[in-house]
């Protein structure tokens, strides 16, 4: 026991030493040792990965803080009182909440997980997952700005997002199981000690935030690594050739949105750069599906929910968004929207 503790401390000291060495000297001796210009693609993957990581990390952390806050300070009774009983009212209440909450996909998943554990019905939680990344002022603003000449994209994005939320929410309400959250048993330990030791709340808040952050973070890192590889290797020119077919084009744009893993407040600009080669319905597919599901947030979901639930959710959201985009694409091309 004593020996083990000793090795543990030694290991930590070595790590600290390494961290500090690289902090002060990393950019001095490593660029001399490894010539990144000889591996331009690898170098670009690493740069894109670091960008994606730095952009998302504050929001991942915010999500962990919010989730710990709910865990420790919001009791199940409050939630029971706040949530409307009927499924339809609950779904619309969740859409309203999504409009107010100014967070995007990285932060919302752990929060929804915690809310469901605290007794929020699964269908309401799912509606939050679907709508929170799209229904906020920043996303409206950037979509409007990127598609000034085509306002149907902005309206279409909002309408399709709400419709998807309602359909997916109702479907989950009818067919859902209650136990969708991962590792529920362990949480019981929590409840117990929170009530027993009120003075330690602050410490457990820190502990909780940190652990939540590292749990979600490691899935995020894997997702972000894959996303950056796709970002760098995918040749956009080849895509343009398939672009004009409505069905193939929509499926393709949704696929691209999935692998690129853009932040919902930035994806409109990228979508605008595709707008010449793809039909409006396909562009909507990109703008509606991307924020709801992409490589990085599917991995975050894996950290928070049971695999079977993630699987159902992915299929359901894909099917609903896909059919809605085809309908919307038809309407736009007839000038109906």
């Amino acid at each position: 026991m004593l020996l083990k503790r000793y090795t543990g401390n030694m290991l930590l000291l070595i790590l600290l030493f390494l961290l500090l060495t690289f902090f002060f000297l990393g950019d001095v001796f490593i660029p001399n040792a490894i010539d990144f210009s000889r591996y331009p693609q690898l170098h670009s993957v690493l740069v894109v990965f670091l960008g994606l990581f730095l952009e998302s990390i504050p929001f991942l952390f915010l999500g962990a803080i919010a989730s710990s806050f709910i865990q420790l300070y919001i009791s199940e009774e409050i939630i029971q009182r706040m949530i409307p009983k009927g499924p339809v009212t609950a779904i619309f209440a969740a859409i309203g909440a999504a409009l107010i909450i100014p967070v995007c996909e990285c932060a919302i998943i752990p929060v929804v997980r915690k809310l469901i554990q605290k007794g929020v019905p699964v269908h309401a939680g799912v509606v939050l997952l679907v709508t929170a990344p799209i229904l906020n002022v920043i996303v409206f603003g950037s979509t409007y700005y990127a598609f000034q000449n085509d306002p149907s994209i902005l309206y279409g994005r909002i309408i399709l997002c709400v419709l998807t939320a309602v359909i997916v929410g109702l479907f989950i309400y009818i067919f859902s199981r209650k136990d969708v959250v991962k590792e529920e048993k362990l949480e019981a330990v929590h409840e117990h000690h929170v009530h027993d030791f009120p003075p330690s709340k602050w410490t457990s808040f820190i502990e909780h935030t940190s652990q939540e952050f590292f749990m979600v973070g490691r899935y995020f890192i894997i997702g972000a690594l894959f996303a950056s590889i796709f970002q760098v290797l995918m040749d956009r020119a080849i895509l343009a050739e398939i672009g004009q077919a409505p069905i193939k084009g929509t499926a393709l744009m949704m696929g691209i949105a999935f692998v690129l893993s853009l932040c919902s407040s930035a994806d409109a600009f990228v979508a605008a750069s595709f707008s010449h080669s793809f039909l409006p319905g396909s562009i909507l597919g990109f703008l509606v599906f991307g924020p709801m599901l992409d490589l990085k947030n599917v991995l975050i979901m894996m950290a928070c929910f049971k695999r079977s639930f993630v699987f159902t959710y992915v299929l359901l959201v894909f099917a609903v968004v896909f059919s809605l985009c085809l309908i919307a694409g038809g309407l736009i091309s007839k000038g109906g929207l």
């Binding site: 290991l11 690289f22 990144f36 590292f214 956009r236």
Partner: protein, 254 residues
């Protein structure tokens, strides 16, 4: 015991993450990875990481009932070490990278953004286009591009001066390059390439090198779309500017 180790390890990793953001911020590299509007978030995270790191590294009182949520109970020490070691990837990358430019061949896969002529421009139309000599700066880059796209038929023969880096695609002829800029709205992931096609004696201009060029405008095409094209008069090699990216500013209320 393991719990104790994990707690310290998490503290150490948070310290590392904080130091990584700090180093990138101080060296000025942060704006090559994320847009200025995202920097306050990163700095808040930096502060939060340091605070929580200190609290995690501080010796905790024994005998308290710790919460054992998530992975701590289920995994063996080696699996745990592997899970946490993932966090060293971004930390060390932030420490060692000094060059944050995306390579030319990677950019060629993205292609140049094809801007649509806006039906209604939000700027005073004609502010730049009516001049005989147009000078493009970071501040008016999108305004000028917008106006030129809107007035393609009247721009022939006007002088333009701008800076950017040389960009090539496989389909370009020997007399063609694009003089381009990268723009980001949130981070390098959404980096979008904008540029002007440049015709003339461009053989000696190396891909990714920065130039200030002057030339005359005319209507031409890129991938079948009508765009402004520049006939090269003079090119001068320059050092890459401090801010290599343009940032798309979204004004929500316009």
């Amino acid at each position: 015991m393991k719990r104790f180790f994990i707690q310290k390890l998490e503290g150490l990793l948070l310290l590392g993450l904080g130091l990584m953001i700090f180093k990138l911020y101080v060296s000025g590299h942060l704006t090559k990875l994320i847009a200025p509007k995202m920097i306050p978030y990163a700095l808040t995270a930096l502060f939060a990481f340091f605070v929580i790191s200190l609290l995690r590294l501080k010796k905790q009182k024994q005998g308290r009932n710790h919460c054992d949520c998530h992975s701590i109970r289920e995994s063996s020490a080696s699996v745990l070490a592997l899970k946490y070691s993932l966090f060293f990837i971004p930390i060390f990358l932030g420490f060692i990278l000094t060059d944050f430019t995306l390579s030319g061949e990677v950019l060629a896969k993205r292609g140049m953004a094809q801007q649509q002529a806006q039906k209604q421009s939000s700027y005073d139309t004609g502010k730049h286009v009516n001049l005989e000599n147009i000078t493009v700066t970071d501040e008016n880059y999108f305004e000028v591009l917008d106006e030129l796209l809107n007035n393609l038929d009247t721009i022939k023969g006007k002088e333009i001066e701008l800076s950017g880096f040389v960009y090539r695609e496989d389909q370009f002829t020997k007399k063609q390059v694009a003089i381009s800029r990268l723009s980001m709205s949130c981070c390098v992931v959404d980096a979008t390439l904008y540029g002007y096609m440049l015709n003339g004696n461009v053989k000696g201009m190396k891909t990714n090198d920065w130039y200030t060029i002057t030339g005359t405008l005319k209507k031409g095409s890129y991938k079948g779309e009508a765009v402004p094209v520049i006939d090269l008069k003079d090119a001068k090699k320059i050092k890459p500017p401090k801010e290599t990216y343009l940032y798309e500013n979204v004004q929500i209320i316009q």
